[in-house]
């Protein structure tokens, strides 16, 4: 039996689960960088090579049918088993793979040239605002003012929570973050979302196949980049495969974090998903405390830093809550005037900001449309006023949604 849940709850559940697992990955990766003496370039490549192997093993295990459905359908109900890449996915996967490879190489470049890159890397959190700007330009549903405010709160909070007092700030490092790392991550996120929204054989694309094929392309692009940066790092990466158990642990855990992240991307905007995922910073703190007795991890260097960290964490929580609070949805039933093309009419309605679905129907009404907005006031300003301007609508009825359950 399939589960019917409230979509909003599911989105936050998935994004926060991904953050918790992501926090475990952060701790494992810190352990790898402290305990194993692998140069950053080789580490960057070896982690992907190990990643593709463990992801393949996990995907095959998750393809085993149990009770008529693959095991993986319990993590993502759309999962039909590991399959070959579809033609329509190839351009999106190439873009997502390039984005991931460039973002990763940019990250390791910063690690390789700066002794303490944490201050510079904290500006990676600004990627939420990059996503917001990209969505404002490219997507039909531009972010509302409340979303912009919440995003800024989360971004600043995340920077404060991850800021280090010991690391230096320099222009070159910041330029790499702002001009290479963040834009590449935006490409990675946007194309992963596009992949999740694709329909394969009439059903939603699944996160497990998306992740497997994304790693496939990312590994190829990363191998090419590392090879051209320095061939000796390329071969050192092959040698570092001897540490495969810890690499498998890191990338196996990452696999599950991404599955939930990609599923969340299919339900919400990329910017909001990224903002909720910033809570990884919060979850990594208790985990680091637990591991601190085994490996030398430091949480803060001074009391002022601790205060700033706590303030940052509070801002992240407040920002995420304010994202979740306000959203109004409604159905609009429309009766069309005779003599008007219903194709033109549904295209005109679809062009209105806030319209998430529009359907031409046979029955008492001619068109049923679903809309989403931040407040009912906005609904009037943005949607009803524009509907009234469309020629061809005889009358419409507004039904505000009070509560909704959707099939997952």
């Amino acid at each position: 039996m399939r589960i019917r849940v409230r979509k909003k709850n599911l989105f936050y559940l998935l994004a926060i689960t991904s953050s918790v697992i992501g926090a475990v990955v952060t701790v494992i990766d810190t352990y790898i960088s402290l305990e194993y003496n692998i140069n950053p370039w080789s580490l960057c490549l070896v982690i992907f090579i190990a990643g593709i192997v463990i992801t393949f093993i996990l995907s095959v295990i998750l393809s085993i049918p149990i009770g008529g459905k693959p095991l993986g359908a319990r993590i993502d109900p759309s999962f039909p088993g590991l399959r070959l890449l579809r033609k329509e996915e190839v351009p999106y996967q190439i873009m997502a793979g390039m984005g991931n490879a460039i973002a990763t190489v940019g990250y390791f470049f910063i690690i390789s040239i700066y002794q303490d890159p944490s201050t510079i890397l904290s500006f990676f959190e600004v990627v939420i605002l990059y996503l917001l700007i990209t969505e404002s330009i490219a997507e039909k549903n531009a972010p509302s003012m409340a979303e912009v405010e919440s995003s800024i709160i989360v971004t600043f909070g995340a920077i404060m929570a991850s800021f280090s007092f010991t690391g230096g700030l320099n222009l070159k490092g910041l330029l790499i973050v702002f001009l290479v790392l963040n834009p590449a991550w935006v490409v990675f996120s946007i194309y992963q979302r596009k992949l999740k929204l694709l329909r394969i054989n009439g059903r939603h694309n699944d996160a497990i196949n998306i992740r497997f094929w994304n790693l496939f392309f990312t590994t190829i692009f990363t191998a090419i980049l590392v090879y051209f940066i320095d061939t000796k790092h390329f071969f050192a990466a092959i040698d570092a495969l001897k540490y495969w158990p810890i690499m498998f642990l890191s990338m196996g855990t990452t696999f599950f974090s991404y599955i939930f992240y990609i599923r969340a991307l299919g339900l919400g905007k990329a910017s909001v998903t990224q903002a909720v995922k910033s809570s990884t910073i919060i979850f990594s703190i208790p985990l680091s405390f637990l591991l601190a007795s085994y490996i030398p991890l430091s949480f803060y260097e001074s009391i002022p830093q601790l205060v700033i960290k706590v303030m940052g964490i509070i801002l992240v929580i407040m920002g995420v809550i304010s994202f979740a609070l306000t959203e109004v949805r409604a159905y609009i039933f429309i009766k069309a005037k005779t003599g008007h093309s219903s194709t033109d009419l549904i295209n005109d309605i679809w062009a209105i900001k806030g319209v998430t679905a529009v359907a031409a129907v046979a029955g008492r009404y001619d068109i049923i449309s679903k809309v989403r907005m931040r407040t009912l006031g906005k609904g009037y300003e943005r949607i009803i006023r524009e509907l009234e301007e469309i020629n061809g609508i005889e009358k419409f009825e507004w039904h505000s949604i009070l509560k909704e359950w959707e099939e997952i």
């Binding site: 039996m1 399939r2 019917r4 039909k140 549903n141 929204l197 009439g202 949805r329 409604a330 159905y331 039933f333 219903s342 194709t343 549904i346 295209n347 679809w350 998430t356 679905a357 529009v358 359907a359 031409a360 129907v361 046979a362 029955g363 008492r364 009404y365 049923i368 679903k370 009825e397 507004w398 039904h399 505000s400 949604i401 009070l402 509560k403 909704e404 359950w405 959707e406 099939e407």
Partner: protein, 79 residues
């Protein structure tokens, strides 16, 4: 694949029990409680028209449902 909206009107005081019963029905893509002329809007996705009839029958048989109005989707654009 056939998609449809089923608009449901309930008798006053029966909304909660109708919802509980409705959530047990298979093939419902979404169930929304709304404020307006109708009380519940159900979106259905089925293979054949006959399956749609079966779902409509199931909804009709729920105690507390006053009337339904089925709108079959001819064309849909969505996010």
């Amino acid at each position: 694949m056939i998609k449809a909206y089923i608009l449901v009107l309930t008798y006053v005081g029966n909304l909660k029990t109708v919802l509980e019963e409705m959530r047990k029905i298979e093939n419902l893509e979404s169930i929304a409680v709304v404020a307006g002329d109708y009380d519940i809007i159900v979106k259905v996705e089925v293979e054949e028209l006959e399956d749609l009839m079966e779902i409509t029958n199931k909804i009709h048989s729920i105690k507390g449902v006053k009337r339904t109005n089925t709108q079959v989707i001819e064309k849909e654009i969505r996010e």
